[in-house]
Amino acid sequence: MRGEALFGYLMILPALVIVMLFTAGPIVASIGLSFYQWDVISPPSFAGLSNYEQLLSDQTVLHSFWVTLGLAVSIVVLEILVGLGLALLVQQRRSNVARGTFRTIFYLPLLASASSVAIVMGYMFDQKFGVINYYLGLLGIPNIPWLTSDFGATATIVIIAVWQQVGFAFVLFIAALSSVPKDVLEAAQIDGAGPLRTFFAVKLPMISPTVLFISVVGMIGAMQLFDQPYVMTKGGPGYTTTTTVLLIYQTAFQNLQFGYGSAISVMLLVVLIGLTALQFLGARKLVFYQ
């Protein structure tokens, strides 16, 4: 029996060391560092709560949280609506070939890296030479300053994030919809429910756990948005697209304020935990578990 226990410890050892050293330890260290001032060069000096006092009156930091929250909510809501809409439409197709083809097409954007997509879209959304404004111009829509205006830059980042990630929600919705039992759908049909009624009374409750999952995972991802604003706008114009992680990057790795950067990271973690808890609380009433 003792041999078996030893074998068990040896088997988990590599993963445990990595998790302790690079996730569990650093999260504690992040909290610790947030009470210090440290520029990496000179030794850290204890600063008490001063980083947090500074943070709560720092308009740039608070603004970055609102920017990030606005972007994240827009991206996740659109991802869910578009992903679900596409999944419902693809499910209507009778031929397996059509369903498979659409599934592959909607998955393809996920294969590119977010930074590559940002490079490509930066060219496509260019105000003067971009292909987007060219086609909009053919429709009589005047040049839109996509990357250089407040609304344009925000909209561009939302559009390209949704364009790239909608396949994720789509694939999950396809799986969830196909697991709705046939007899339940038939029963609804016999009771005279139309397609709309069937969707809201039967399908939507049955797939609500998937909606919650996409919402939680999507928010955790979108609240850490970095690649697209870093590549396309550098956070501009002004601070319009300066997300919290972009600000952490600038604070810690460009201005070498490691303590203050840690305090912002800890605040981001707290906000994320709060948002996740909020979604699970809301889900208690809305999500239906079989």
């Binding site: 068990g8 590599p14 998790v19 590559s116 990057y249």
Partner: protein, 278 residues
């Protein structure tokens, strides 16, 4: 039935139309990238774009290999992604198996610790990890990206769930036949767990092949750059003059993902869906 047939048919036709429009929207930027990468730099910004490359100009592809060390970026990306995928698959199979099949004191508590770290966003740990990487002497080397990713809580969880469903009798029978605990794992159970291992591997491939943030922070010497970092640098250096060259680089970076997806689409989809039923 006949009275509802017409609206139903019209609804399906409109549905198909919407799907086709959505498919065009999904594909257009990818097609534009490919065709523009085949235009001469002088033509690259002329509209309308050439959706079908009648006179492909392959010079951009040689240019991108000459103007920046694209080949070295590519090799670095292959090394980083390859070692992480192989390493993490093995360590997560081991730990997932142990948490599912072996009894040892503290098992439940240690597993809870894994679960708790699964929720921690990468961003909340980056500053201490950066300091640690410097102390370990890994900064500005590929090891900075590889070592911290050689194990993972999510992968452990994924593998454990799969091993939990396996019959214990298989291992007991092998033990009676004289197999050691390691042989039971490696010869009996590990081969049965290849589907979730493949799903984990494709998930990790997608994630680490595309990774931008950690390379940006850990790597400062161009000889260590991975593809995403190198391409963003290329875009910055060349400016708008040679976008077709930049796009050729983007296409080169995309090829391995597309090839892998073509051969293992099933595992990509499974990776996403198994991850969601937790």
């Amino acid at each position: 039935m006949s009275s509802s047939a017409f609206p139903a048919r019209a609804g399906r036709a409109i549905g198909l139309l919407v799907l086709i429009v959505a498919a065009i929207a999904a594909l257009a930027p990818l097609v534009w990238t490919l065709t523009t990468s085949l235009r001469t730099p002088a033509e690259a910004f002329t509209n309308p774009p050439a959706w079908i490359p009648l006179n492909p100009d392959w010079a951009n592809y040689s240019a991108v290999f000459e103007q920046i060390p694209l080949f070295s970026f590519f090799v670095n990306s292959v090394i980083v992604t390859g070692l992480i995928v192989i390493g993490q698959t093995i360590t997560c199979m081991m730990s997932g198996y142990a948490f599912a099949m072996i009894r040892f004191p503290g098992r439940g508590k240690i597993f809870m610790l894994f679960l708790a770290t699964m929720m921690v966003p990468l961003q909340a740990t980056m500053i201490p990890v950066f300091v640690l990487i410097k102390w370990m002497g890994l900064a500005n080397s590929l090891g900075a990206l590889i070592v911290p990713a050689l194990g993972g809580a999510f992968g452990t969880f994924l593998m454990r769930q799969y091993f939990l469903q396996m019959p214990r009798e298989l291992g007991e029978a092998a033990r009676i036949d004289g197999a050691s605990p390691l042989q039971v794992f490696w010869k009996v159970y590990a081969p049965l767990a290849l589907p979730p291992a493949a799903a984990l591997a494709t998930l990790n491939f997608s994630g680490f092949w595309s990774e931008f943030y950690r390379p940006l922070i850990f790597l400062s010497d161009q000889s260590t750059y991975t593809l995403p970092l190198g391409l963003v640098g290329l875009q910055g250096n060349l400016g708008t003059g040679s976008i077709s060259v930049v796009l050729a680089g983007v296409v080169v970076a995309l090829i391995p993902s597309v090839l892998l997806f073509a051969f293992a689409q099933r595992y990509f989809i499974e990776g996403i869906t198994t991850g969601s039923f937790r």
